[in-house]
């Protein structure tokens, strides 16, 4: 008897949405989700080993604590993360202020996801977290809401980088609402099974694995639903170089450096660069969000 693949008897689009639906179902069960999150699927690279805890926690871009990669882990040691609360406001029926304890009470699971920095390097990080949609579902979102804006805390006393006009503080990042509701968009609460270290964005950050790292805001105090596209920090600093979407895309070069390849953090000095994948290897899950869009224009 001839065997059919599901993709042969189901129209492609439905097949994909069904797959992502099945995947999002999987997240409920952490064991299942581990196999369903594309993590580093075979084609992404053979380097599916998570980066070492040491590298993940000492090599950070977190300009609130300085522009050097080793600044955050040195300077964030005494950063105050309690008390902390997260406001959800804007285009919602009733805004909400959640104490951090309440956010952390949401069940986290391990999500091994790849981080690709716009500077041309990547890490594989075993995050702890849950889908942002779980948090957003706590409020009633008005139909007028089209975007979600994330705001990092403004605390120049402890965040020494904020004393200098490196970027427009506080740091603002944002997503389209459908991107924010995608199950892979993760609220991060920890890594390597431990509480999130300060230099990685404690007490709460988001992580969007198919976008360049700077899209994933850290130390979030406010989540605002908006009608208009947020004026995000890096786009504000240099609109030609950093677009609102900033999806990982090997075909669209940053005006200053190529995005076709990347260096894997923690590899030896002799290891070659590897090819960067469209959407950082998560194309099966997220490409449908951008169907019909010119990704060269909407970089």
């Amino acid at each position: 008897m001839k065997k059919f693949k599901h993709s042969e008897i189901t129209p492609e689009k439905i097949y994909h949405t069904r797959r992502s639906f099945i995947k999002s179902m999987g997240y409920g069960l952490s064991a299942l989700s581990l196999s369903s999150v594309p993590i580093i699927n075979a084609k992404a690279s053979n380097l599916n080993e998570p980066t070492s805890y040491q590298d993940i926690t000492t090599y950070n871009n977190y300009y609130e604590f300085g522009t050097g990669k080793s600044d955050p882990h040195r300077r964030a040691k005494n950063f105050t993360t309690r008390p902390w609360s997260v406001k959800i406001e804007g285009e919602v029926e009733k805004s909400l202020e959640l104490p951090i304890e309440e956010v952390l009470a949401i069940k986290s699971e391990e999500r091994i996801l790849k981080l690709r920095c716009v500077e041309g390097w990547s890490m594989v990080i075993p995050w702890l977290g849950f889908s942002l949609s779980e948090l957003l579902n706590k409020v009633e979102i008005k139909p007028s809401a089209k975007f979600v804006e994330f705001e990092t805390v403004y605390n120049p006393e402890e965040m020494v980088g904020q004393r200098y006009p490196v970027l427009n503080w506080p740091y603002i990042e944002g997503l389209r609402l459908d991107e924010a509701m995608h199950p892979l968009t993760t609220v991060v609460t920890g890594l390597y099974g431990k509480t999130l270290p300060n230099q990685n964005g404690a007490p709460l950050r988001i992580f969007i694995p198919w976008k360049y790292g700077f899209k994933s805001a850290k130390a979030i105090v406010k989540i605002k639903l908006t009608k208009n596209m947020p004026n995000t920090a890096w786009k504000n600093a240099s609109p030609r170089e950093y677009g609102f979407y900033s999806n990982v895309n090997p075909e669209v070069d940053h005006p200053r450096w190529s995005q076709a390849t990347e260096r894997v953090i923690g590899e030896s000095i002799l290891a070659p660069r590897i090819k960067t994948l469209m959407f950082n290897g998560y194309g099966d899950e997220v490409a449908h969000l951008y169907s019909g869009m010119d990704l060269k224009k909407n970089y």
Binding site: D55, S258, I265, S268, P272
Partner: protein
């Protein structure tokens, strides 16, 4: 005493090599070793270009001719480190894969200007000997004025490759501007006298 100055400066100038060798052997190059090596030699190139440019102002300030003795050596070290910087980019990072490299030189202005600066350093290194200076006479001075262009290219290279000018590129820029201002001021002053 003074006989030791030149060898001492020479040994001190090898410091960047010493550091990298130590870090290489003790595995202290960090999570991105290739990047670390490229940046290390890039920054030291700029340091040596600025040091080379400081010798004339120092001579004028201290009214001592000693400084000028070191200028050639420092300049050659700048070329030496610039070459390691470029070779580590071409060899370590891109594995001599010239297709993306040529693409980088043509499309990325920071690579273009950095590469141009290195090319411009070559004639200066070749003509650095006393014999060449005698041979070229007045043209030698003219030719070696290229160092001003090179220094500006070098600092621009650093500014353009950085995500923000804060703080290292800004520091290099400020020092460069001060060193270049020295030239303008002194020539104006001497013309008035």
């Amino acid at each position: 005493m003074k006989n030791y100055f030149k060898p001492a400066v020479f040994l001190l100038s090898l410091w960047p090599i010493f550091i990298i060798t130590y870090q290489l052997f003790y595995n202290k190059l960090g999570p991105e070793p290739v990047d670390r090596i490229i940046n290390h030699f890039g920054e030291w190139t700029l340091v040596f270009i600025l040091l080379t440019l400081s010798m004339t102002p120092l001579r004028k300030i201290t009214k001592s001719l000693e400084w000028i003795k070191f200028r050639r050596m420092l300049g050659l070290f700048a070329f030496f480190y610039a070459s390691i910087h470029m070779l580590s980019y071409v060899g370590l990072d891109y594995r001599f894969d010239f297709k993306p490299l040529i693409n980088d030189v043509l499309k990325k202005k920071f690579v273009f200007i950095g590469f141009s600066a290195w090319l411009l350093l070559i004639p200066l290194a070749i003509t650095s000997s006393d014999r060449m200076a005698r041979l070229l006479k007045q043209n030698w001075k003219k030719l070696h004025k290229l160092v001003y262009v090179i220094s500006i290219f070098g600092v621009l290279h650093f500014i353009w490759l950085s995500k923000t000018i804060f703080f290292k590129p800004l520091i290099f820029l400020i020092i460069l501007i001060i060193l270049l201002l020295f030239r303008i001021n002194f020539s104006k002053l001497s013309s008035k006298i």
